[in-house]
C-alpha cells in the first residue's frame, strides 16, 4: 500500500510509516522523551529527505506527547508551573543556539565539535543514571547500604546555585529552588537542542532527576508537557521553511498517539528505578551508536542533498 507524499515528492509504504509511529510513540510515552532520536533516522532510512524527516518527527512528537501527557495529568503527575519555567528557559536558549550555530557555521567544523560534546554528555549522563539506579535496585533487593559519598564539587556548586535569590516553591515537585536554576538549565539544553537538531528529552529528564531533584512521579509528565511547546515551535518553523510533509506526519501521528498511550500505561506498571535503568541503557545505546558512527569508516564519504 503506497501513498505519494506531496512535499517529500516520493511514494512511501503506508504500513511501514504506521509501524514507525507506533514504535516511537511507545518509547516516547514510556520514558517521557520526544523520540525524535528514533523517528528521524527511521524516516531517513526509508528514503525521506533528511530535512523533511526532521520536520515530520517534530510534528509527530506533539501528538505522542499530548496523548501521554493527558494520562499523567489525570493522575496529577504534572508540575505545570515547573514546566512553564522550563519552556521559557528553553525558548531563550534556542535563540542563543541559533546565533552560536551561525557563528560556528562560519568558522566551519561545527559537526565535529557538537558531536563530541553530545557524545560526552550522553555518555556521562547515561553511565551515572545506570550506576545510580543499579545501586538503588540492589539496595532495595538485598538491603545493601552504600557508603555515603562525599559531595562532589559539582554537587556543592549546584547546591549553592539553588540558594540564589528568587526562591520559588514548586509544590507538585516538592522542591524550593532559585528560579535561576531551572531557567539556566533549560537554556543550556535549548542551545544544545538547536545545535544537535534533536529534542533534548535525554538531557532534560536526567537534569530534572539529579539536578533539580524533582519528585520522580512528576518527571515524565512534566517532561512531556514542556516537549509539546518545543515541538510545536519547531513544527511551526519547519512549516515556514516548507519542510513539513503533512501527509507523512498525519500517518505517523495516528499511530504514535496510540503507541504513546500504551507506553505511558506500561510505565505506570514498572517501578521507577527499573524504568530509569532502562532509560539509562537507551541513552547509552544512542551514545554508543553516535560513537560508532564517528569512528567507523563511512560507507560513502560523500553525501548528496537536493534543495527544492
Amino acid at each position: 500500500m503506497q501513498i505519494y507524499l506531496p512535499i517529500a515528492e516520493i511514494p512511501i509504504n503506508i504500513i511501514t510509516i504506521l509501524m514507525f509511529g507506533l514504535i516511537t510513540g511507545f518509547i516516547a510515552g514510556m520514558f517521557g522523551i520526544g523520540g525524535g532520536f528514533l523517528a528521524t533516522p527511521l524516516l531517513i532510512f526509508v528514503g525521506i529527505p533528511p530535512a523533511i524527516a526532521v520536520a515530520t518527527s517534530t510534528n509527530q512528537i506533539i501528538a505522542s506527547s499530548t496523548s501521554g501527557l493527558l494520562i499523567h495529568l489525570r493522575k496529577g503527575n504534572v508540575d505545570i508551573k515547573m514546566g512553564l519555567v522550563l519552556v521559557i528557559g528553553g525558548f531563550f536558549g534556542s535563540f542563543i543556539g541559533i546565533y552560536i550555530f551561525k557563528f560556528l557555521q562560519k568558522t566551519g567544523q561545527i559537526d565535529i565539535a557538537v558531536s563530541i560534546i553530545y557524545v560526552v554528555f550522553l555518555g556521562t549522563i547515561g553511565l551515572n543514571m545506570l550506576i545510580n539506579s543499579i545501586k538503588q535496585l540492589l539496595e532495595s533487593k538485598y538491603q545493601i547500604t552504600w557508603e555515603k559519598e562525599h559531595d562532589s564539587a559539582f554537587a556543592r556548586c549546584i547546591a549553592k546555585a539553588k540558594k540564589m535569590p528568587l526562591q520559588v516553591e514548586f509544590p507538585k515537585s516538592q522542591i524550593t529552588v532559585s528560579l535561576f536554576v531551572p531557567i539556566i538549565l533549560s537554556m543550556l539544553i535549548g542551545v544544545l537542542v538547536v545545535l544537535m537538531g534533536i529534542g533534548g528529552g535525554f538531557l532534560m529528564i536526567p537534569a530534572m532527576i539529579s539536578i533539580l531533584k524533582m519528585r520522580s512521579e512528576v518527571v515524565t509528565g512534566t517532561s512531556l508537557f514542556q516537549i509539546i511547546f518545543i515541538a510545536a515551535n519547531a513544527t511551526f518553523l519547519q512549516a515556514m521553511n516548507n519542510n513539513l510533509d503533512i501527509v507523512l506526519a498525519a500517518l505517523m501521528i495516528l499511530t504514535s498517539a496510540i503507541g504513546s498511550q500504551i507506553g505511558t500505561k506500561t510505565s505506570y506498571k514498572i517501578d521507577t528505578e527499573r524504568l530509569r535503568s532502562f532509560l539509562a541503557l537507551l541513552i547509552l545505546a544512542v551514545c554508543l551508536k553516535m560513537l560508532i558512527s564517528l569512528f567507523t569508516d563511512p560507507a560513502n564519504i560523500y553525501s548528496l542533498e537536493i534543495i527544492k
Binding site: Q2, I3, Y4, P6, I7, E9, I10, P11, N59, Q60, I62, A63, S64, S65, T66, S67, L69, L70, I71, R74, Q109, D111, I112, S115, I116, I228, A232, T235, F236, L237, Q238, A239, M240, N241, N242, L244, I246, V247, A249, A250, I253, L254, A257, I258, S260, Q261, S293, L294, F295, T296, D297, P298, I301, Y302, S303, L304, E305, I306, I307, K308
Partner: protein
Amino acid sequence: MMRFISIIILTFQFFCFATIKTSYANSIISGISTSEIEIDTSFKGAKILLFGAKGYVGNVIVAVRGPKKQFILTKKNELFGIWYNGKRVKLNDSYSYYSLFSTFIDQKIPEQLLSDLELGKNNIDLNFYSADIDKKAIEDFRLYFLDEMQKENLYLSDVEKVDFLNETLFKVMLEFPKNISRGTYSVDIYLIDDGSLISFQSIPIYVKQIGFSAKILNFANQEPLKFGLLAIFIALFTGWFTNLCFCRFFGK
C-alpha cells in the same frame, strides 16, 4: 482507455503524415503520447511514448532533461580516526533528471559536438560553486554526483537504444521514475549526420501534482503560516482524541 485510443489515432495520423514528409526532407519530426505527467496520491512513475520519423541519413539522439535544481554535496573528512563533515560544495542549476537514447552505431560523432550539445553523462554541464577547491576535488565530487543520481534512477547509466520500425520510423519509450521532481522537462531530439547537427526538435513535458496532493502542496507553499498551525492542531487533536478513545474503551 480514452488516452490509449487517442494515442493510437495520433500515432496513426502521425505515421501517415511522416512517411510522406520525410521521404524528401532531411529533417526529423516527432511527437509524444502525452505532454503531461500528473502526480496524484497513487503515483508510481510514468511512461511516455516518443515516436518520430527521419530521412534516410543521419543518427537520432534523444536527450531527456529534467528541471534544473540546486544540490549540496558534502565530503566527510577524518581527523584522529573521527569522521566529520568536511568540504561542502554547491551545485547550481543542474539537471534533476537526464536520460539519453541514440542510434549511433554506424558513425562516430565528434566529441566536440557531443560536448556542445551536452550529450552523454560526461558532457553534462555541472556548475560547481565553492570558494576554494581544486580541480581534482571537483572531479571527485562530479563522479560521485553522477553515481548517486544513477542509483536514484534519475540519471540513466547507459545510453539506451532508439527502436526503429523501418528505416525512417522510430520510437522510444521514456520512463520516468517515481521520485522525479515537478517542473518542465525537455525531450530534445537531434539528427546528426556526418559529424554535424542537421535537425533538432524540442518537446516539453510538464510534470505536476494534481488532486489532493496538489492541494496540499499549494497550501503549504502559499500559506505556510496556516499550514504550520494546522499541522500543530492536527497533532494536538489526535493526541487528545486518542486519549479519549482509550479512556472510553480500555478504562482509566
